[in-house]
Amino acid sequence: MIRDHALIDELLAAQALDGLDADGAALLERELAAHGDCEECRRLEIEHAEVAGMLALALDPRPVREAMADRILAERRTAAAPIERLDARRDARLGWWQAAFGVAAAVALVFAILLATQDGEGQGVPGPAIVAFEGTAPGDLAMSFTPGESGALVWATGLPDPGPGKVYELWMIEDGDPVRGACLAPESGAVAAFLDADPSSADLLAVTVESEECPDAPTTDPVYTAEPGTTQ
């Protein structure tokens, strides 16, 4: 059966350039799914991706210090710990979910704020909502955020080691669909991470144990869960 590829061709061209808007990306996904295992779709996708890949070569190269390669190569040897950012700057705007910023100190600080808030003495502290997770595993895991605003802080202490090559991954479940939140690699059981999202729209927050590559969808059952509506 010969299928029409005009629309898919147009969508794939824009996708290769990262130029699709959200509705275009959704449309492409539906179209590709409708075509199933289609050789022509694959051919078009590769063709556009190869052209896009060449475009980068038009630019004057910008040298990279060899030290970066050393830093990366040192990473696998130290296993699942998240890579340190190039400096201690924490840039929430551009930050990926892994903002590594002195885990133990941050956890201590946040717990101090939490305790102050619970004691009713936190009036001077801007009051984000705080949700505590419940779990089948030991440890304390919580998240603070301001409902309706992007940005949340996740922290934990006493988490069990997820195992070699494993990390914890946080999901925001919305209408039954898990949306990736953050990858959490505990250091001595402690975690502090910044999440560049608004968790208040989720029906449920869940944490699973995943491989350190942090898959796009959960592959195991949650070990911790929380409902963002039930704040303290």
């Binding site: 990262d18 808007d21 896009a52 475009l55 980068a56 038009a58 630019l59 190269p61 910008r62 705007r93």
Partner: protein, 202 residues
Amino acid sequence: MTIDPGRSATVRSVEPGGARDEDLLRRLVAGDEQAFRELFRRYASAAHALAFRLVRQAQVAEEIVQEAFLSVWRNPDRYDGARGSVRSWLMGTVHHRAVDAVRREQAQRRRAEQASGIGPGVVEDPVDDLLAAIDLPRERKLVRAALGALPEEQRDVIQRMYFEGLSQSQIAERTGLPLGTVKSRTLLAMRRLRANLGEGTR
């Protein structure tokens, strides 16, 4: 450093003809650090140039390159040879990360501009200065010539989309063109680029 695959003197001394990117990837899966260094040497500065062009912040660009190569080092088996070349996979990863950063930044800036009443600044024309340079390695020359051979309205779309990180609707908004025109120009530009780039794309 050259960004030309297969031309490394270091590699040639070890493997006559130079290792193909795909072979380097295979060695990477086995944890071969030399293979990683070679791949890094081939593409890191091109990746860095791409990230910097998009995000315009040295530190953010470096972080994007580092994260992209770290992901290659940790998960080389994510590369699927049936879905294209190592180069397009690598550059696609870097571009994608950089565009993510740009869009977040744009959203922030828009909010700030709305708050302060200041409109967007003057947009540069990076492709024009790209086309001015001379005496380049073969591939850079080829790509610049291919870009230069596009009709201006198609080059403009590629420039805004690929080199500035704008989406199709953002381009329509900024140029006042109907969205459908932006979409058709994108496809026409990509087809013509492929024809102009010829064997270089495989």
